[in-house]
């Protein structure tokens, strides 16, 4: 083979790409549009201005990373609710099992992926932070 041929072939590809739409996003000025099924930060769904979660403990049970902490309590109407709902995002592997396990469809995974932070403590998402706004 002519030693020039591979170089020409390589250059062809390079030139072709000069006319194609670039793949790289100019993050953060440009932002990706994540798919519907994207598994990002969790969100606790709200209905009747209350978290839907009934603190059944299925998500902490199924979670393979053991990063969900739930503590149940009884409200004034003797209904069960989660007095504590916490996810340690440093341990979460975004498998989505928790969402799948939830019997009352109280949990979702949002498109939110910008989870960087300065302190480890800030990766512990409390119920307040997880509630859908």
């Amino acid at each position: 083979m002519n030693p020039i041929t591979p170089i020409i072939n390589g250059m062809k590809i390079t030139f072709k790409h000069m006319f194609l739409k670039p793949v790289t996003l100019q993050y953060p000025t440009e932002r990706p549009k994540v798919s519907q099924r994207f598994r990002g930060l969790h969100g606790l769904k709200v209905s009747h201005s209350k978290a839907k979660c009934v603190a059944c403990y299925l998500c902490p049970t199924v979670c393979p990373a053991k990063c969900i902490t739930v503590e149940a309590a009884e409200d004034a109407n003797h209904d069960k609710y989660a007095s504590v709902y916490e996810i340690d995002m440093l341990r979460c592997i975004f498998c989505g099992y928790c969402v799948e396990a939830c019997p009352v469809d109280a949990l979702k995974m949002t498109g939110e992926f910008e989870l960087a932070n300065y302190h480890r403590q800030d990766f512990i998402y409390s119920k307040e932070r997880l509630l859908e706004k």
Binding site: V54, A55, C56, Y57, L58, T61, A72, A73, E74, H78, D79, K80, P103, V104
Partner: protein
């Protein structure tokens, strides 16, 4: 034995077995929902349907049908599976299916069966139930919407607990489980109904929503309250004991517990637990290091005979044995005791003289094997409720006769055909003597009795106890005493039961000898279903006796130690776990003693009143945090192991004693297991036992009897005076010693001391329930809430001793009966 074929397998089963039992015995599983092995067959749910060839393939319930020779049974044909699925569909029809919020989830028979039979659709449609939920008591929640009407709760409450709080009410589709007049539940809160409920209808409120069943680690243990020695399973999560878990295969009692065992565990993880050693500096208790605290204590223990010690019989055998070594060998004092020195005298003096051994001559298992039970004081039920269940079952299922000699009526009196002789307080020994005399007079004794040492003396001494004279002084009828005597003597097997404890000063060595005399006269000991069973008060009361942790060879006993503190001969007092300020008689004297003693060391779980007076307080560990053995009232030695890790700043009493021995220049103690091997070499009856042997079910330490007649002293009961009441002290069902004050469950249902009096007296003095009344004796006066009840005879009042907030020892100085005045 009969031969049957189950699912093509040739098997044999006992003649009395049901199909369900026969299958279970041979490893074939038939699903059940309404059946419980402790209860009589009921047949309410039809989950256990099977086909029997001889019955032309009809489907019949396995749990109620007895096996017969040659039966050919099929347990899982397609038809049966279909029928079971239908049963589940019908059950789920009105069921709320709120598993996510139901605490039973994970341990629910209905849930498990639904899963197993893959019932995920329902062909039928109907409305759900709308029963209101009973949240009226703090311990048991009743949600009848989830009920499958298996009747287990009503049956256990009737058949075993004999309370009868629950029953089916209403008819047809409206049928539900309810209380009298569909009212709120108000019962003895043993929680037996919760334990057998197959669904989430009955739930323990203290555990409500605390954790899921599958997240709990289960640790077997032994109840740390009374001497019955019930086995427990503790449910632990995150190093906290969150609940007790029912295990129908545990212990002689098959998982049955009383309110204290089931609901009284909260003291283990109480936030009030001591977490650091305290030392008194400038009059105040200040936190300090273990090194400083132990050094200080060790320095004071060098004073030999001026040191004395009191220990609670809630310590393990190993701890008591080590404490004894520390005191005898390293300190050099014989002044140590437990339980105020008198609560164990029935064993250490009474039985030693009468039976030659400081242990009961019968076991709890004898209760159901006997023909007649003679119970001294109805309180036996309250002090040892699970023993009480055995009595209930003996009387109701086995037709055992029950006679009670008591100063008040009680729950046991309500059992079918129970005879209760209600006598004037303090006459027990005289009545027992009169029974013995009747047996002698009417020649109802066995021939061998006359060869027993002391026979001539007893015949002579009993001459003054004719049934007539005793009847006159005790307020009974002579005929009743005689009838009881002949019933006892002529019964094939008969067992005497009496409780002892710090509230029962009259249940002493003399009472023990008086009961033993009856057993020896009629030859009712050393045989199945016979003997005398002394119910010792706390989890290791019998063990403390077996370890010899009581005053011997001239050592001072519990009450003498307090006197010696006042007189100054005892300068250092080491109290391990006792709270004498509340539980020993004569509060003024105890207070004076603790004030007077130069140096007071207390090792405790909590800062009790006694601990608050100490110079050094050492934080100790509960039964759930240590390894060792407890000996139950009938000498079953049982092994306990830590269920949770202890707080790093606390030490077990074993470690405390071991550290002190090293501080005093001795050798550090061996492990508890090795210590137990040492114990097994010396303690009578413990030979051959070891932790490894005891690990699973425990074992009985044997007792050998050497009978002798002993003349029991009958102290005359104080004369009745006009306007005065006879106060008797004792225990209530919900409490045991002073420890249960730190258990939330018991405190929810019985939070404070009270004075129980008869309706007659209440109306004469215009006293109503919960009125604050002033009770005064020669020793002092105090205010107590009134409790009016129908069980007290006129002129007699009862007060429990457990409460630091209402210490009955303000007016009670240790006599079995105290004369008091009552004013509103």
């Amino acid at each position: 034995m009969v031969n049957v074929t189950i699912d093509d397998k040739q098997v044999t089963a006992p003649k009395t077995a049901t199909i369900y039992e026969a299958a279970k015995l041979n490893g074939i599983k038939i699903p059940i929902l309404c059946h419980d092995k402790k209860l009589k067959p009921f047949g309410a749910c039809r989950m256990c349907l099977v086909e029997v060839e001889q019955m032309k393939g009809r489907q019949i319930p396995a749990c109620t049908t007895p096996v017969t020779e040659g039966m050919i049974i099929r347990t899982s044909t397609p038809d049966i599976i279909k029928a079971r699925k239908m049963v589940l569909e019908l059950l789920l029809l009105n069921h709320p299916l709120d598993c996510p919020v139901c605490d039973k989830s994970g341990d629910c028979d209905l849930q498990n069966l639904t899963y197993e039979y893959k019932v995920n659709t329902n062909r039928f449609k109907d409305e759900k139930f709308h029963h209101s939920i009973d949240y009226n008591n703090p311990l048991i929640e009743r949600d009848m919407n989830r009920c499958v009407l298996c009747g287990k709760c009503a049956r256990i409450c009737d058949e075993i607990v004999s309370f009868g709080a629950l029953t089916f009410i209403d008819r047809g589709i409206e049928t539900k489980i309810g209380c009298e007049f569909d009212d709120a539940l108000n019962c003895e809160f043993c929680g037996s109904c919760i334990s057998v409920c197959p669904v989430g209808s009955l739930l323990a409120r203290p555990f409500k929503h605390k954790a899921r069943f599958w997240a709990l680690t289960k640790h077997t243990s032994v109840c740390g309250y009374c001497g019955t020695g019930c086995n427990l399973t503790l449910g632990v999560k995150d190093n906290k004991v969150l609940t007790t878990i029912y295990d129908e295969n545990q212990g002689f009692h098959k998982g049955q517990l009383c309110v204290r065992g089931r609901f009284g565990y909260q003291f283990i993880n109480s936030s009030q637990r001591l977490t650091s050693p305290l030392v008194r500096k400038n009059g105040k208790l200040m936190e300090t290091s273990w090194d400083e605290a132990l050094e200080l204590v060790a320095g004071r223990l060098k004073n030999g005979t001026s040191v004395a010690a009191l220990a609670t019989p809630r310590l393990t055998n190993e701890e008591l044995a080590l404490f004894k070594t520390l005191l005898l060998e390293n300190v050099g004092t014989k002044n140590f005791d437990h339980s105020a020195g008198f609560a164990h005298s029935a064993l250490t003096e009474g039985f030693v003289r009468s039976f030659g051994e400081s242990a009961s001559s019968a076991s709890i298992l004898d209760i159901q094997k006997s023909d007649m039970l003679l119970v001294i004081k109805t309180d036996s039920y309250e002090t040892h409720p699970v023993v009480g269940f055995e009595v209930n079952m003996a009387v109701k299922n086995k037709g055992v006769k029950l006679a009670i000699i008591s100063d008040k009526r009680g729950k046991l009196s309500k059992l079918p055909d129970a005879t209760t002789l209600v006598h004037r307080p303090g006459c027990e020994v005289a009545i027992l003597n009169a029974i013995a005399k009747t047996i002698i007079d009417e020649k109802l004794f066995v021939d061998t009795a006359s060869t027993v040492p002391g026979y001539a003396e007893i015949v002579k001494a009993l001459s003054e106890f004719s049934a007539e004279s005793v009847a006159a002084q005790s307020g009974l009828a002579a005929a009743d005493i005689k009838k009881l005597a002949s019933e006892y003597a002529t019964a094939e097997k008969a067992l005497i039961v009496f409780p002892v404890g710090q509230g029962y000063a009259g249940h002493n060595a003399d009472l023990a000898s008086a009961t033993a005399n009856l057993a020896i006269l009629t030859g009712k000991y050393g045989k199945e279903g016979c003997g005398v069973l002394c119910l010792s008060e706390k989890s290791n009361s019998q063990g403390a006796v077996d370890m010899g942790f009581y005053a011997q060879d001239g050592g001072l006993n519990g009450l003498q130690i307090l006197d010696a503190c006042v007189s100054g001969t005892v300068k250092t007092l080491f109290i391990a776990g006792e709270d004498p300020l509340t539980s020993y008689p004569d509060r003024t004297k105890v207070k004076a003693a603790l004030d007077a003693v130069e140096f007071l060391v207390v090792s405790e779980l909590f800062l009790t009143e006694t601990a608050a007076m100490a110079d050094v307080v050492l934080p100790a560990c509960s039964f759930a945090e240590k390894e060792g053995t407890f000996t139950s009232t009938d000498r079953r030695v049982q092994y306990i192991k830590p269920a949770i890790r202890k707080n790093a700043q606390t030490k077990t009493d074993y470690e405390i004693f071991s550290d002190l021995i090293t501080c005093l220049g001795g050798q550090a103690a061996v492990t508890p297991a090795e210590k137990f091997s040492e114990i097994a070499e010396h303690a009578p009856g413990y030979t051959g036992l070891s932790h490894i042997i005891l690990r699973k079910d425990g074992a009985f330490a044997t007792a050998a009897t050497k009978p002798a007649f002993v003349v029991p002293k009958a102290t005359p009961s104080p004369a009745t005076e006009n306007g005065k009441f006879a106060l008797v002290t004792g225990s209530v069902l919900y409490h045991n010693g002073t420890l249960s004050q730190y258990g939330e469950g018991p405190m929810h249902v019985c939070p404070e001391g009270y004075l129980e009096l008869s309706r007659t007296d209440a109306s004469a003095y215009k006293i109503a329930d919960n009125d604050l009344i002033t009770v005064a004796s020669a020793a002092g006066s105090m205010q107590l809430k009134a409790k009016v009840s129908s069980r007290m005879p006129a002129g007699v009042v009862f007060a429990p001793y457990h409460f630091s907030s209402a210490p009955i020892n303000t007016i009670w100085t240790g006599s079995p009966v105290t004369m008091v005045t009552v004013a509103k």
